[in-house]
């Protein structure tokens, strides 16, 4: 009887990946500019960015989820959608963490690179875009794959908002069948495969994209 | 020469790493109060030899006896044997999380089970012997290379060993710091502390060494008094080696 429900759990995978992908993408869009701002920006800008990073790294995820879902979103008049809200919260948080990964990578690229670019006549922005970032992004890959693993696990917490991802569905099956062993085993197996499988893929990408001699911070 | 005088007996020691034959049959004896020097080009197996003698590295073949007890016997308690050997490393290997005093006393406290106060008293005394009592509370990172090596010697001495092994003790030091370490070693040699010294320092070898062994390609090629081996070697290779060393030495002095 439980077997019929198993496909129901498997259909949570696209939702989970949606949460993770959406969160990571949003985090990238937020994190990279923050990193650039923290390395090259003015004192005031750095202070503001530091506050953002500090806030989103010091708050409990569950609290943030509920705060946004029940409080912030309605206050701004947005629709109450568990998936969107979760992606936004995950994105804001991972943006803070990713910014530190990128920042470390940018800083390890070394001043000389940007100075050489400007000496060639590039504007600072162009120099960052064409010279610093391609190196920094490659260096960031290992830390980034770590971030993926973390968000994957955070996505499970979004069951608290009712997003139709793996854990929500697993709990539903357990409640319906009173059989917790198999569903949780499946859920656990799914998370383990998603963690290590994708991390392996990211490692392969990292190896392929590696530039010989480009020493990165691991 | 009775057998009781033999502190260390080494017989036919071999060691290979894969296809690389580092030691190809080394045999010798060290008598009590003897200062024995080992020298030779790098890669000749000198460091590996010392480490095989107290089983820091496991030899493939051969036997070693310390004061009659067979070190290479698997039933022997190697910890007890090692306590009788004072080992001084090229890279000092002081314990980074302990100050100088504790570096010297920890062997007494942890291995010999001495009470803390007694151990630290002895440690302070040993540091005094190497001229470093005032630095007892400094950490290794706060000491110069020469000071570190002297602490390392004090650490080895504190255990009251029957023989000292020195593995190129001055090779990692800046030239101006070598003297302070050699002075300590000379003092200990004059006090008749049995020693086996791997070194390039020919001045030291000639002034306190009793016998010198020249090693190449994993075996001892020549032996004799330092004067004999350095000035009147039997083999061409030995001659070339010492000429090379002399040139380097002259360059440094100039």
């Amino acid at each position: 009887m439980v077997w019929e429900y198993l496909s129901y759990i498997f259909w949570g995978v696209p939702w989970t990946l949606g949460l993770v992908g959406g969160g990571l993408a949003l985090g990238f869009i937020i994190g990279l500019p923050i990193a650039i701002g923290q390395v090259y920006g003015s004192k005031g800008l750095k202070a503001a960015l530091d506050m953002y990073v500090w806030f989103f790294r010091s708050t409990a995820l569950l609290v943030l989820l509920f705060l946004f879902f029940w409080g912030v979103f309605p206050a701004f008049g947005f629709k109450l959608d568990a998936l969107i809200c979760s992606i936004v919260v995950l994105g804001l948080r991972t943006g803070a963490y990713q910014s530190q990964i990128f920042r470390g990578a940018i800083e390890s690229v070394g001043e000389g690179q940007l100075i050489a670019a400007c000496a060639l006549g590039m504007s600072k922005l162009r120099g960052i875009y064409h010279i610093v970032l391609p190196q920094a992004l490659r260096i960031s890959l290992p830390g980034w794959s770590n971030e993926y693993a973390i968000i994957l696990k955070d996505s499970a917490i979004c069951f608290a908002l009712g997003v139709q991802e793996i854990l929500t569905r697993t709990r539903y099956v357990v409640m319906a069948t009173h059989e917790p062993l198999l569903p949780y085993f499946i859920a656990g197996a799914l998370f383990i495969v998603l963690t290590y499988g994708v991390t392996k893929i990211i490692n392969i990408v990292y190896e392929k994209a590696k530039i010989p001699g480009l020493v990165g911070r691991m | 020469m009775s057998n009781e005088d033999v502190v260390l007996k080494v017989e036919n020691v071999h060691k290979s790493y894969g296809n690389n034959k580092v030691l190809t049959g080394v045999s010798f004896e060290v008598r009590r109060a003897e200062i024995k020097i080992i020298c030779g080009p790098s890669g000749s197996g000198k460091s590996t030899l010392l480490r095989c003698l107290n089983l820091l590295t496991q030899p493939d073949k051969g036997h070693v006896w310390l004061e009659g007890e067979e070190v290479t016997d698997p039933t022997t308690d190697i910890s007890k044997v090692r306590q009788k050997i004072g080992f001084v490393f090229q890279e000092f290997n002081l314990f980074n999380h302990l100050n100088a005093l504790r570096n010297v006393s920890i062997g007494l406290e942890v291995v010999k089970g001495m009470k803390k106060d007694e151990a630290r008293k002895i440690a302070l005394r040993e540091l005094g012997k190497v001229g470093l009592e005032e630095h007892a509370h400094k950490y290794p990172a706060e000491l110069s290379g020469g000071q570190k090596q002297r602490v390392a010697i004090a650490r080895a001495l504190a255990m009251n060993p029957v023989i000292m092994f020195y593995d190129e003790p001055t090779s990692a030091l800046d030239p101006q710091l070598i003297g302070e370490v050699l002075d300590v070693m000379k003092k200990l040699a004059k006090e008749k502390l049995t020693s086996l010294v791997v070194t390039h320092e020919m001045g030291f070898a000639q002034s306190v060494g009793d016998e010198m062994m020249f090693m190449i390609d994993g075996k001892i090629l020549e032996r004799g008094t330092p004067l004999q081996v350095i000035q009147n070697p039997k083999h061409k290779i030995t001659k070339l080696f010492f000429e090379h060393i002399a040139k380097l030495y002259m360059r440094q002095v100039r």
């Binding site: 010091s58 708050t59 409990a60 995820l61 569950l62 609290v63 943030l64 509920f66 705060l67 029940w70 409080g71 912030v72 206050a75 693993a149 994957l152 696990k153 955070d154 996505s155 499970a156 917490i157 608290a160 854990l167 709990r171 357990v174 059989e179 917790p180 062993l181 949780y184 085993f185 859920a187 656990g188 998370f191 383990i192 963690t195 290590y196 | 107290n54 820091l56 910890s79 007890k80 090692r82 306590q83 080992f87 490393f89 000092f92 290997n93 002081l94 314990f95 980074n96 999380h97 920890i106 062997g107 942890v110 291995v111 950490y139 290794p140 990172a141 706060e142 390392a152 650490r155 255990m159």
Partner: protein
């Protein structure tokens, strides 16, 4: 009774329970981390593989799933843990597994010469690890361990989903009664932030007390 008069005492009760859950979890987590790291480095093949397997398994599972397995699935195998002990056990396993990676890395970063010197003095492997390796490795892994403990504090809210009436459980309860989400969840959030801040400061103090010149993070 106004909202705040009702809410604050209960939130305080919840905070006390959170602390009660964290107090055993943190030190036992560190101990587990050390055991796992030592098993992987010094253990024989089967022990080393077992430890590696445990670490990989726990690191691959979300903490909430680990908690649910302990609280909801294990009873089917006749293994029963109370809400409190489910949370504590889950936290110990999770933080222990993550911390063990830091400890393991730190042990491996210790120069081999330290081992050689210890052995040359006649120390047994056990004495070498206890007196020479661990004191250095634990200092080196302190930043990583501190990081994981801060994470644990922030994720302790998950304990509310296995039956613990801690901070977050009360927050949800009051939100469903009074529906004042911004005040309620900001308060809860503030409590977690202050716990994290206290912990961060605490670790900075510990790091300074344990600092030894020359024994900074290895590069």
């Amino acid at each position: 009774m106004s909202f705040w008069e009702a809410f604050l005492p209960k939130i305080f009760e919840g905070w006390v329970l959170t602390v009660e859950i964290l107090v055993p979890s943190i030190p036992l987590g560190v101990i587990l981390a050390i055991v796992l790291a030592l098993a992987r480095i010094y253990g024989n093949k089967p022990i080393s593989l077992l430890a590696a397997g445990i670490v990989s398994l726990i690191r691959g599972l979300p903490l909430i799933v680990t908690l649910f397995i302990i609280f909801f699935a294990l009873p089917k195998l006749a293994i029963y843990f109370s809400p409190y002990w489910s949370a504590v056990l889950g936290f110990i396993l999770c933080t222990g597994a993550y911390q063990s990676e830091y400890v393991r890395g730190a042990i491996q970063s210790i120069d081999v010469g330290q081992s050689l010197a210890a052995q040359a003095l006649g120390m047994s492997k056990l004495k070498e690890v206890v007196h020479i390796i661990l004191p250095q490795a634990l200092r080196r892994s302190l930043p990583g361990i501190a990081n994981e403990i801060i994470y644990l504090i922030l994720y302790s809210s998950l304990a509310s989903y296995v039956g613990n009436q801690e901070i977050f459980a009360w927050a949800r309860h009051f939100n469903s009664l009074y529906f004042r989400p911004i005040e309620i969840f900001l308060t809860a959030g503030l409590i977690y932030i202050s716990m994290a801040t206290v912990a961060t400061t605490g670790f900075k103090i510990i790091e300074n007390k344990l600092r030894i010149p020359g024994l900074e993070v290895a590069r």
